[in-house]
Subunit: 501 residues, 2 copies
């Protein structure tokens, strides 16, 4: 059995290495590549991904997994070997259900749709993307139909990003959240908006860059196993457990842009860096789901990075870096500025309270489109109506309405958005559990110390990589299912104090 | 036949893409990678190279090449299609002769030997590398023996870098060169050395960097299809014709380091950027041999970049950038400083006159070791003797003697060095031919204009990529064989004037 297990590891190590090479080519494209490199780069990435996929659907792998079944059954569920075989089988079985032709069609169409969207969005031309989005929807349905026996047609697509979750379970959580959230948003936005003009001065890039690096170094992001570069859209990528890189985008006239993006991406990256080193090159390395991944970026960005305690320590340092800009701005004013809540158009720029309304709207539209209850041609109007109902404002155009996110124009419709709000919910559940174990954490954060928090996350979440599903992990950590209660309490406490609700 | 030809192109495009991906991983390792990435990176590069090699020795490729033979025979020798099939067959036939186990053994041994050398060199410990170098020599012999029928055991290894050249042909050229060169070196070094203290002041990195970029941009290195980064040892690498990158190393206390490295690498890079765009993804793209490649780096670095004409235009600009350091240094003094000739220990830092003595010594030792006429254990002593005879100085230790170059400690013994001096010879042959066609070139260089020269190189050398062998190319360009005459004339003219010989 030792031999077979080693064979499995070698097989997946090669799949992982091909995917990591493709990721490096992609990272380079976003950070360094001269324009002339584009045509060959697309061809090279496609080849690497194809070779990785061919290895993943290799019938010899299926046979090997069958042979390893008795060994797996003889081991405890959460042992490394049993988990390796279990997750490897899950990846294999998901992959073989999709015909390679469909996969290729989805990828080719995504590339074409992205090109069109990239020009149509600035031109506010929904008519141009509509046929592409219709085709994307059709392909998404075909993809879902590769997994017969679903309860809702979105289920296989949600499952792909957040294994074990379904349209019904996500909808139930979201409905509960929505009931609690809408009154909070209404109460806050009934008051005069916070003044964030202190963030909208001139902050030279070099100092912003250094400050952000200092913050995430203190968080515990390991620069011996990572680095930060500039990219038009911030992202995190990993080539091994020993090389997990972040990117950020600097706006010299808006201080919050680079700093919080750096914290956010470092959250993702610390999760990836934290996998058990023994999982290197196996399917156990990495993050278990989009929801848990997002819980870590949001935890470090919002729960820590936008907390009063964090800035008790860091604000004097920031004032030292930017004395002219912030020397006469009080901590209170700065804290209110970075937590300004407002009804706004753009999801990625939304505050942590209204953000979820943006996400839930998209999630509901994905279900409705997949069900056939919402036609693509009716999407812009539906978007405006729902936006008015939920956020009280109407997007003036489709560019900053239904065309704002890349997701539907460079992938599939379905499973693309629920992870963002699941992440908001999970991060406070996890943080509460950490505080129960270590009530000293908030005091440490006020001292600029993050080791106890990181250690707890490492021990309870990061080291496990993909071993446990979202639900299994939440159950292990909190002793129960996903619950919105900690998140609502967090919002009430934080924003209750800020807005004297 | 169209179908078969397309099949061949697709096959080689995939080989090229895997190798290009490996090159990007290697580039990233030298420029960006955090230390923690090293173990996985080595594994990933090895996998990509193995997959590329497997595709190259695929028996189906041999069959395809056989089927294409009649088509090739029906075409003119220098047509693109015939050349594609010819060069593809050459690559295939070279590759299939080497058993994969031997190739793997060479690569594994190279990695081990490099580790040992990397520590032994600073410790001046030749005893530590000796058994590794003995093994390298043994593997090099085995590699040569995969190509039976050679005249000299070094021939297959020389052939690999400089296709069509042999130990005998290179030795004949080198013997002739040596006879002419030694008296020139003696005449120069009998005089007081040039004063290069003006180069050894403090020159801040940022200004050095910008100045170097400006120079190579004017040469014609295309930054839409390239970029420059920092690396411990400067190199050029290409991921496609549209993405050819250079690197340099900056010394703040020695102006000549970064600037001439940038020019040198840009010479390599312009050659690669210049391949016919239709060769993209085929074995015709790239440089035809190490000698011709080196001729382009040396041409731009030395023939252009260390010429009086070049600095007539550029020196006032350099003085503007560094007024405190160079404001009171005359053009004559500066020109003498950058062309200082001296008997020195290190090949890579040697001037363009003595450089060839360093190379010829290594070439002769490679032949002697492969022949069995020089044992590895006797190499340090042989090095000291030959160094004394050729350069009149004795290396004080092995660190700056026989252990200074990475080549024998990270590859094979044989074929590693002749390209450097062939490049010096070829670059003046090519330059002479360019001047015959365009006598206005030196005048243009004095105006900071390089378009005519680059255009001629592009037309006569770069666009052909690997289509012609070194000899074929030299014959097409100069109407004759490789000749040292232009090079000797160049040295006599330039250094005759500088040293009033």
């Amino acid at each position: 059995m030792e031999d077979k297990l080693q064979e499995l590891k070698t097989h997946f190590s090669e799949i992982g290495d091909l995917n990591s090479a493709a990721s490096l080519l992609s990272w380079d494209q976003m950070t360094n590549m001269p324009p002339g490199g584009a045509p060959a780069r697309a061809r090279q990435m496609a080849l690497l991904k194809r070779l990785a996929h061919e290895k993943l659907i290799d019938p010899a792998l299926g046979k090997l997994l069958d042979e390893l079944q008795p060994y797996e059954a003889s081991l405890p569920f959460d042992s490394d070997d049993a988990s390796l075989i279990r997750i490897a089988r899950r990846d294999y079985e998901q992959a073989i259900k999709v015909p390679p032709q469909l996969l290729a069609e989805i990828e080719n169409h995504a590339a074409a749709a992205f090109q069109v969207w990239n020009e149509a969005r600035p031109a506010n031309n929904f008519a141009a993307v509509q046929p592409y989005l219709e085709k994307t929807l059709e392909l998404s349905r075909q993809l879902a139909d590769c997994f017969p026996g679903y309860e809702h047609i979105a289920d296989p697509l949600i499952d792909h990003a957040d294994y074990g979750m379904k349209a019904s379970s996500v909808s139930a959580i979201f409905a509960e959240l929505r009931d609690q959230l809408v009154p909070i948003v209404q109460a806050i936005t009934a008051q005069p908006p916070a003044d964030d003009s202190c963030l909208r001065q001139h902050f030279p890039e070099a100092q912003q860059w250094e400050f952000g690096l200092d913050v995430v170094r203190r968080f515990g992001y390991d620069f011996q196993r990572g680095r930060q570069d500039k990219a038009p859209h911030p992202f995190t990528t990993e080539f091994s457990i020993g090389d997990v890189r972040i990117t950020t985008r600097v706006e010299e006239h808006f201080l919050a842009e680079a700093l919080f993006a750096t914290m956010h991406e470092a959250g993702h990256a610390m999760y990836e860096q934290g996998s058990d080193p023994g999982y290197e090159g196996t399917p156990l390395a990495g993050g278990t789901s989009s929801g848990v991944h997002e819980s870590q970026s949001r935890l470090w960005e919002n729960v820590v990075g936008r907390s009063r305690g964090f800035w008790t320590f860091y604000y004097p340092k920031l004032q030292e870096v930017f004395p002219d800009q912030l020397g006469s701005v009080s901590l209170d004013s700065f804290y209110r500025a970075i937590n300004k809540v407002e009804r706004s158009l753009i999801r990625t720029a939304a505050d942590e309270v209204t953000y979820n309304l943006h996400v839930m709207l998209r999630f509901d539209f994905e279900l409705a489109m997949l069900e056939g209850n919402l036609a693509v041609k009716d999407l812009p109007e539906a978007w405006r109506e729902r936006f008015k109902a939920d956020l009280g404002i109407v997007p003036p155009d489709d560019r900053d309405g239904v065309m704002q996110d890349i997701h539907w124009y460079f992938g599939i419709v379905g499973g693309m958005f629920q992870g963002y709000t699941l992440g908001n919910i999970l991060c406070t559940q996890f943080y509460d559990a950490a505080l129960q174990a270590h009530p000293e954490i908030p005091g440490e954060i006020e001292q600029g110390e993050f080791g106890t928090l990181l250690g707890w996350l490492q021990e309870n979440i990061y080291q496990h990589g993909r071993k446990f599903t979202t639900s299994e992990l939440v159950d292990r950590v909190t002793g129960g299912p996903i619950s919105i209660e900690p998140y609502i309490r967090y919002l009430r406490n934080k924003y209750g104090a800020l807005y004297e609700l």
